[in-house]
């Protein structure tokens, strides 16, 4: 490869001189052709003359030449841009410069963009839109591919012309729906209540509320599909709240037919106080077992801007018992906050209810957050670790023994 390059270079160098004279002439003819316009003829022009002296500023001419016509068109346009149009222009330029900016942006999004308080907020919002756009595009591409494959499969099937024999009519999804709804209806009468506290709207941004509702929708669906669903209560739910608007976006007409209880009352008004347990990661108490007679409360809050103690404060105010999941006890925690998403909580609680098996339940904690399960309690593990360390570091051993003797004189 390299030798070929070298050869090429040599040829170029050698050929520069003889062609220099010719070059001047070429330039003239080139300018003539430019008045007619454009690069297409340039390209043709080039291809028949492989090696010619380089005119390094030729690109400028090309750029300017293509423009003269455009300029004459745009001159009549009014120069002043409205702020919206200006923002749109700026976005377009950013996109050309290769920044993370969506290709299409709606008027509403553009307004949100302009209302962002800072530069970094603007950047973040644009990146969010950009990624969303990418997702949508990918989704669409996949759907198209799928459709094509399905059509092909249909063609094939019609060729082979095989008749299926089965005693069931193929009505899977609607039958399943009926079965699920039946169970959910049963849970409305006999099921163990599970409360979602919907009083955190003020603590959250619009994005966070949207995320919360998404997680709640996921929770509801996984509850509906379970063998023994909870009776879900949305308490402190205000009509015409941001929560409600988001829910309607997700469920549409189905919102009124959901088999859950939605109320603006507080849980303390519906249930006896001594039965309530507020689940919060900030609680000093750790949950030992799942109690089938208690009513657990989960705060419907996505907290991206670390506001610690918000739900604990709520429980304290109402004088409720609190509990945290025994994450430390069963998992060797590595990174990430101890607060889990609402659907993860739902999965964990459902599994606990059915099996009372902590290990199985805590499988739903995201894998990135922990290194592994602990068989023994962590305290024991630490003791063994200390022991191993003291045995390893022989010289430090005496010191440790001394320390032990001082701290625990009786032993």
């Amino acid at each position: 490869m390299q030798s070929a390059n070298m050869l090429l270079r040599k040829i170029v160098r050698n050929s520069v001189l003889p062609f220099a004279a010719q070059h001047g002439m070429k330039k003239d003819s080139f300018q003539l052709s430019r008045t007619l316009s454009l690069s297409l003829c340039l390209k043709l022009d080039k291809s028949c003359e492989p090696s010619e002296k380089l005119d390094l500023d030729e690109w400028k001419k090309v750029m300017k030449s293509g423009l003269q016509e455009e300029v004459s068109e745009t001159v009549s346009e009014p120069k002043e841009l409205s702020s919206l149009a200006a923002a749109r222009e700026t976005l377009e330029m950013w996109r050309l410069a290769g920044r993370a900016v969506p290709e299409k942006i709606s008027e509403e999004q553009l307004k949100t963009f302009m209302e962002c308080p800072s530069k970094s907020a603007k950047k973040k919002y644009l990146k969010y839109l950009h990624i969303k756009e990418l997702y949508k595009k990918n989704e669409k591409r996949k759907m198209d591919e799928k459709r094509e494959r399905r059509l092909e499969a249909q063609d094939e099937a019609s060729k082979t012309d095989e008749t299926k024999k089965s005693s069931f009519v193929c009505l899977w999804s609607s039958t399943m729906d009926k079965a699920y709804n039946w169970r959910a209806a049963q849970s409305m009468i006999f099921g163990q209540p599970l409360v979602f506290d919907m009083s955190y709207e003020k603590e959250m941004s619009v994005r966070e509320v949207a995320n919360t509702v998404r997680q709640l929708v996921l929770s509801e669906s996984c509850n509906r599909r379970s063998v023994d669903p909870f009776h879900i209560h949305f308490c402190n739910f205000k009509d015409d709240s941001l929560y409600q608007r988001e829910f309607i976006k997700h469920y549409r007409e189905a919102w009124d037919k959901l088999l859950i209880t939605v109320t603006d009352q507080c849980y303390t008004e519906i249930f006896p106080k001594d039965k309530l347990i507020y689940l919060t990661a900030d609680s000093p108490k750790v949950m030992k077992t799942f109690d089938h007679d208690k009513i657990y409360i989960v705060g419907s809050m996505v907290d991206k801007s670390i506001k610690t103690g918000v739900s604990l404060a709520r429980a304290k105010r109402l004088g409720l018992e609190t509990a945290a999941l025994p994450l430390e006890k069963y998992l060797l925690w590595s990174t990430g906050a101890k607060n889990l998403t609402l659907d993860q909580m739902m999965h964990i609680l459902l599994t606990l209810k059915d099996t009372a098996d902590w290990k199985k339940a805590l499988e739903f904690v995201p894998k990135r957050k922990y290194c592994g399960f602990v068989n023994k309690p962590v305290k024991d593990l630490k003791k063994t670790l200390d022991l191993i360390n003291t045995l390893k570091l022989g010289k430090a051993r005496e010191e440790v023994e001394k320390k032990l003797a001082r701290n625990y004189p009786k032993k």
Binding site: M1, N5, L8, R9, V12, L38, S39, L40, L42, K43, K46, P50, S51, E52, L54, D55, L56, D57, E58, W59, K60, V62, M63, K64, G66, L67, E70, V71, T74, L81, A86, E89, T90, M93, W94, L96, A97, G98, R99, E203, P284, T308, G309, V310, L312, A313, R314, K316, R317, K403, N407, Y408
Partner: protein, 466 residues
């Protein structure tokens, strides 16, 4: 990819492109590496020419990359050409290109063009800090101080925060110039440093010193010094401003601490109304204290000792000076355990007042309240930097007040538990730029000195008029 050393012909570019793994981004990658290697501009030109001939157009991002190379090498005429092309080709440009253009032009004799560009940017967006800075530097470099200050004031009015670098350039380029207006503006910058508790670095300090000394007929003389612990300047014997807050500042700060730190959005988050009320009556009935101790924090000073022994040592050591002590702790300290011996706790309670908060309450908030309530003489002991509490305060003015108060009132280094605390002893003087008209005292830090936000510089520039 290494860029070629000499301009290439179209075929050669084509060949290179074909050999490249991802031909779609070949031009971008190539230009990036040209920028990195600072290749001759002709090589880049040949690539552009090749592109122009092939496509009849050159993409915006490629032009910007080329512009970067031109700016890097200070090719002014080239920068102008690119600008002309961009201007006809696109209605407006984005901030990256504007930054480059202004940076490139302001370093040349065509710096006035940078100013017209700045005007152009203002039509569509707020110019970036680097744009303003390039223009300001260009103006002051050409002795147009009035223009430079106009730009500076405009930038401040738009909420664009200047770097120390640009502030320094004002002093650097104003040397030897006369004019009351100019002096007023430069004093304004010094006051800006004061208000925002900014400390200039050594080179900046030198520019300030030289400027003062160069004022015609000013008779200023500056010397470097270290201020004594008493707050006296060894050079001019001037006593620096003391670190106490004024009455108004003090009451303002206590109010804000109660409102923002203790109550915040919900009193239940850090304590409960009932507990806070109990604490308030407890404190009011025993006021004033001389020293308030964060019991749990102090009890962890030496990890080898039992926790209550650590606290015991600290209380003993502070009690000797006949001071009224208040120790804040949590209820779990009262239950007899391996770390908290009941007898020792009892003995301590004879020497100091104790308040035990609930185990899930935050005792730091109580610490702040009790100290502030006791008055200006009261100090507090903790190793904690209290950053999270400072962060609860909603505006920067109060945060600065908090820092100032903290510097004057936090004890963390003491004879009896020395070497453990890393913070500085409380200061009796305020560590900010200050003046009495004929004297200026300016704290500064060494250029490469690592300074934590809680530390203040120990070196000072003393300037006085003879």
């Amino acid at each position: 990819v290494l860029p070629p050393e000499k301009p290439l012909q179209a075929e050669e570019w084509n060949k290179l492109r074909e050999d490249f793994q991802l031909p779609e981004i070949f031009e971008e990658v190539m230009l990036n590496s040209m920028i990195r290697c600072n290749s001759p501009i002709d090589v880049a030109k040949s690539l552009l020419t090749h592109l122009a001939k092939r496509d009849g157009d050159i993409a915006y991002n490629v032009l910007v990359k080329y512009l970067t190379l031109c700016v890097q090498q200070g090719q002014v005429s080239e920068i102008r050409d690119v600008y002309d092309i961009m201007k006809v080709r696109f209605k407006i440009l984005e901030s990256g290109a504007y930054n480059l253009l202004i940076k490139g032009l302001s370093n040349s004799d065509q710096w006035r063009m940078a100013l017209t560009l700045l005007e152009e940017i203002k039509k569509v967006m707020i110019p970036s800090r680097t744009c303003y800075e390039s223009c300001i530097k260009a103006a002051s470099h050409h002795q147009e101080m009035k223009l430079a200050f106009e730009l500076y004031n405009e930038m401040m009015a738009k909420g664009v925060v200047p770097t120390l670098d640009v502030l320094q350039s004002f002093f650097y380029f104003s040397r030897g110039m006369n004019g009351a207006e100019l002096q007023k503006e430069l004093f304004g910058i010094l006051l800006y440093l004061r208000e925002n508790q900014i400390y200039p670095h050594k080179t900046f300090m030198r520019s300030i010193k030289l400027w003062f000394e160069s004022i015609p007929g000013g008779n200023w003389r500056g010397r470097l010094t270290k201020i004594k612990d008493s707050g006296q300047c060894p050079v001019c014997n001037h006593q620096l401003e003391d670190s106490n807050l004024t009455e108004e500042e003090y009451s303002n700060l206590s109010e804000r601490i109660i409102r923002d730190v203790i109550h915040g959005t919900d009193t239940f988050r850090k304590t409960s109304p009932k507990e806070f009320e109990a604490f308030q009556t407890f404190v009011e009935s025993r006021l004033p204290f001389d020293i308030v101790i964060d019991g749990l924090n102090v009890s962890h000073i030496k990890s080898r000792k039992m926790q209550c022994e650590n606290l015991f040592d600290a209380v003993n050591c502070l009690a000797k000076e006949n001071a009224r002590l208040l120790v804040l702790g949590r209820k779990h300290m009262l239950t007899n355990s391996s770390n908290w011996k009941r007898e020792i706790m009892k003995e301590m309670q004879n020497k100091a007042d104790f308040f035990f908060a609930e185990n899930i309450s935050e005792d730091d908030a109580f610490l702040l309240y009790a100290t502030l309530r006791s008055g200006k003489h009261c100090k507090f002991v903790t190793r904690d930097f209290l950053r999270d509490h400072k962060a609860c305060l909603s505006d920067s003015v109060t945060r600065h007040l908090f820092r100032k108060w903290q510097r004057g009132h936090q004890i963390s280094k003491n004879k009896c538990f020395s070497s453990v605390f890393s913070q500085q002893p409380p200061f009796h003087y305020d560590c900010v730029v200050q003046t009495t008209g004929d004297k200026w005292h300016i704290p500064y830090k060494d250029v490469f000195e690592e300074k934590y936000s809680y530390q203040v510089p120990r070196k000072w520039l003393c300037i006085q008029q003879k």
